[in-house]
Symmetry: none
Subunit: 192 residues, 4 copies
DNA sequence: TATGAATGAGTCTTCATTCAT
DNA sequence: GATGAATGAAGACTCATTCAT
């Protein structure tokens, strides 16, 4: 009847809220520091709710990481749209990177997923998706090799941002991407 | 005499063993998962020994991270030597990267330091040293901008290796580095 | 069902039992010697229960001390009632003191509070309450100065009892109180 | 040869220093908070020295408490001298009390002894000495009963000072002592 | 003899997980 | 089903005491 009661009738959304809270916390405090209590408080649900929907904290953590992976997908969708509309030129990529760097939360979220993936084989596929998809957008234009190299460089840029205070300049980014993506003069090795 | 006998008294090396055990564990399970118990077991010392030499687990962790940092320095010294002897060409860099990727332990150690640095301001300087030094070697030849870009790319390569099973090909690395480090045709922006 | 069965769920009274156990122990072994384990054992609850209800041992200690303070208040209420009914004469006070001395547990409890208060500024107010209230009852009859002096003397009597085996005689108490509370012959300093 | 060597040749004085350090610490942090390490640091001796001279921490603590008792004796000697020279009048006693209250360290030291004595039967005799001796000085003049009452009052004054910020006035002290020590008008109960 | 390293018992505290209500 | 109380296993840390050197 009341709002509280209404909410209680929707286990599905409560579950989602818990996962979302866990995901937030993973980004904020690291995957190893999330606890049932922390999650319950953040989600605004009783402690028991966090064990009701998830057999194990580990399971909840995994689902939260999956949720962060979904966020990555959302950001990739945006990138794909921009690349399709404006073309995958170094200038456009540079602009996209700079937008990405400006979103500290997203940067931290991606970092958390990758960090967790290093130690957890199950997460590796998730962590790879970001660069795989980005590579996928670039392959039709530049071929697998250069596309991969560009994605690798962009990953390097993101890690640079996580441990430096000064961001890399647009000029640096664009120059490097231009160099990476330029056609080879030797036609025997053009793309693969 | 009996099994309860105290261990030999050699504080210096015991301390070193504990730090080494902690460093190993940081690399293996991540900086947030090391505990006194784990370290004591790995080092083969009683639990109390890990608290005798270090006021705080945090202090022990820091020292272990410093120890990993020293390893990084050792690797950098090797890189510098090679670059000075053979020249900092894309081919030589590629060869060095591939050597680096072959040492899974070193790769994981560097990753652990960087990962820890993301959340700990005190470690950021340590984590930056690797790319700063590498950049420093390249600056005299390529200028700051391209040197930095190359270092960023190489960091990207290392992160790629941490979450992929198949390594990047030498051709990809060399092509990309060649592109990143090539002289600009536009003389107004050559180096900085 | 089996021996591993959880205890009944009655948080309120369980909390009270823990505080009561802590209070008992403070009286018995001193505020500095109470530990979670000791309290848990005395209260007949598992160790974890003592930390579930109180964030900190300090918090538990405070609550126990408060609880002892409440006992003091109860005794004071009794004293007030007697004084109001029979008048605050030396004879009545002497009788009350002797009743107080007969209750070894109460004597020890008051001592524990005062002892703890010496080192802990937050407890000082609590420790002062006893003599302040007693003084308050006497002020209307004898004025602040003599009332305070009488309370101070009575405190001395209680401390005497804590470290002596033989109690002070009623005659001694009554004589001293008579002397302390007698009207001054010099009218210039009568009461204040 | 050096000063350090000379000191090492005098185990007796080193022992004394350790006991003195322990006594200081008991007064400062309470009898339950002294540790070997704390004592060693305060005394400026190596940790091992504190276990070399005393089988047990408890033994060291006891000796330190004895040492505090000796300090009490020294203060009593002073009091005796003053009382013998100026007479044990309320005015002289008041002056002495006020001197005593001004020495916060001594006040704390006496308190520590009494507090420890409450829980430790072995110390009770020590704790009683102060008031017994004071009583002894007054008995020849006032008789046992009034002398005891005065000593009890003075103890009350000292405890008052330990938990109040404002000291009792000289007028209050002198009035009370005058009342306690005055000759009884009824000759049947004069002294005992 | 003097020192301080070695050890393990014990302290507070946090939590995952279970399960009574 | 939903809640949060219950429990015990760790975790970090401190220290008395022992004993090699």
């Amino acid at each position: 009847m009341s709002e509280g009661a209404r909410r209680r009738r929707d286990p599905q959304s409560r579950r989602r809220e818990i996962v979302a809270a866990a995901a937030e916390l993973i980004v904020e405090v690291g995957v190893g520091a999330v606890t049932h209590r922390l999650i319950a408080e953040r989600a605004g649900v009783p402690l028991g709710a966090t064990t009701q929907y998830f057999t194990t904290l580990d399971e909840l953590r995994s689902e939260a990481l999956l949720c962060l992976g979904a966020e990555v997908d959302a950001r990739i969708a945006h990138i794909r749209a921009v690349l399709e509309q404006h073309g995958a030129t170094p200038a456009v990529l540079t602009e996209l990177i700079q937008q990405g760097l400006a979103d500290a939360r997203a940067l931290a979220a991606d970092g958390a997923v990758v960090t967790a993936a290093v130690d957890d084989p199950q997460l590796r596929a998730l962590a790879r998706r970001w660069s795989e998809q980005l590579t996928g957008f670039l392959v039709p234009v530049y071929g697998t090799r250069r596309a991969t190299a560009a994605a690798v460089f962009i990953d390097g840029v993101l890690w640079h941002a996580r441990i430096h205070d000064e961001p890399l300049s647009a000029a640096l980014l664009e120059d490097a991407l231009t160099g990476i993506l330029r056609p080879r003069t030797d036609p025997t090795t053009t793309s693969d």
